[in-house]
C-alpha cells in the first residue's frame, strides 16, 4: 500500500527548534525571556496574523520563554519562543522592516525556521525507523528527504 499525506508543521520539541536554529544560522538564546522589538505596541498592526489575534496579549509583547536572534547583530529584532494555548510552541517577532534583518535568517513568517524544523524532525524520525536518508535541495528552495531501506 502506498499513500500521500500533507502535514501542517507545528513546533512541539524545543531541542529540535534549537537544531533548526543552528541549521539556518540563527542563534537560540536559551532562557532569554525578552526579545528585542520596537518596544511598545502602537496598535498599528491589525491583520489576521497579528499576535493579539492569536492569544498573545499586547502587554505581553516582547516577553517569551526563549529568544532567537541574528548572531553578531545588536540591531536586528529577535524572535520570541512562546507557549501556545494548545501546548505547542509559537514564534513571535516584530516584522517591521523585515524585523530589521531577522527575516533574512528565519524567513518571512519564520518560514525558513519552520522548514529547517520540519527537516530536522523528519530526518530523525525516519532514521529512528532504520531508513537511510538523502537530502536534496531543489532549485525552488524546497528540501526533499529520500528515505529508503
Amino acid at each position: 500500500m502506498s499513500h500521500v499525506s500533507k502535514v501542517d508543521v507545528s513546533f512541539t520539541d524545543l531541542n529540535e527548534i534549537k537544531e533548526a536554529c543552528a541549521r539556518i544560522g540563527a542563534e537560540f538564546l536559551e532562557g532569554q525571556t525578552t526579545h528585542r522589538w520596537f518596544g511598545n505596541w502602537v496598535g498599528d498592526y491589525n491583520t489576521a496574523d497579528a499576535a493579539y489575534k492569536h492569544g498573545v496579549k499586547p502587554e505581553d509583547y516582547g516577553t517569551c520563554l526563549h529568544a532567537i536572534g541574528v548572531p553578531g547583530s545588536k540591531t536586528a529584532y529577535e524572535a520570541g519562543v512562546i507557549r501556545n494555548q494548545n501546548g505547542t510552541y509559537g514564534i513571535i517577532y516584530d516584522n517591521w522592516c523585515g524585523g530589521k534583518g531577522l527575516e533574512k535568517v528565519i524567513g518571512q513568517n519564520a518560514d525558513t525556521l519552520k522548514q529547517a524544523y520540519a527537516v530536522v524532525v523528519a530526518k530523525k524520525q525516519v532514521q529512528r525507523k532504520g531508513f537511510r536518508v538523502v537530502e536534496v535541495t531543489k532549485d525552488d528552495g524546497r528540501i526533499q528527504l529520500l528515505a529508503t531501506k
Binding site: H3, K6, V7, V9, D111, D140, L145
Partner: protein, 62 residues
C-alpha cells in the same frame, strides 16, 4: 522493491509525505510517528498501487 519515503518540505515548512514499496498497512505504520512529530495531518490519499492491490485481492477471492 525497497521501501521508500519521500518527504518534501516546502519553503513555508509544509510537508508532503509519499510512500512507495510498502505492503499492507505498513506504510501508514511507517509514517504515523513521522506525521505526529511534525504536526497536524491535513489530507491523506491512497495511491494507485493501493487500489490495484485491492482489485487484485478481490479477483483472487472470486
Amino acid at each position: 522493491m525497497p521501501q521508500q519515503i519521500s518527504i518534501m518540505v516546502g519553503t513555508d515548512g509544509a510537508v508532503e509525505i509519499e510512500t512507495t514499496g510498502f505492503s499492507g498497512k505498513s506504510c501508514k505504520d511507517a509514517t504515523a510517528g513521522l506525521e505526529k512529530a511534525l504536526g497536524v495531518t491535513k489530507e491523506v490519499s491512497l495511491k494507485r498501487e493501493y487500489h490495484q492491490q485491492v482489485r487484485q485481492q478481490q479477483r483472487a477471492q472470486r
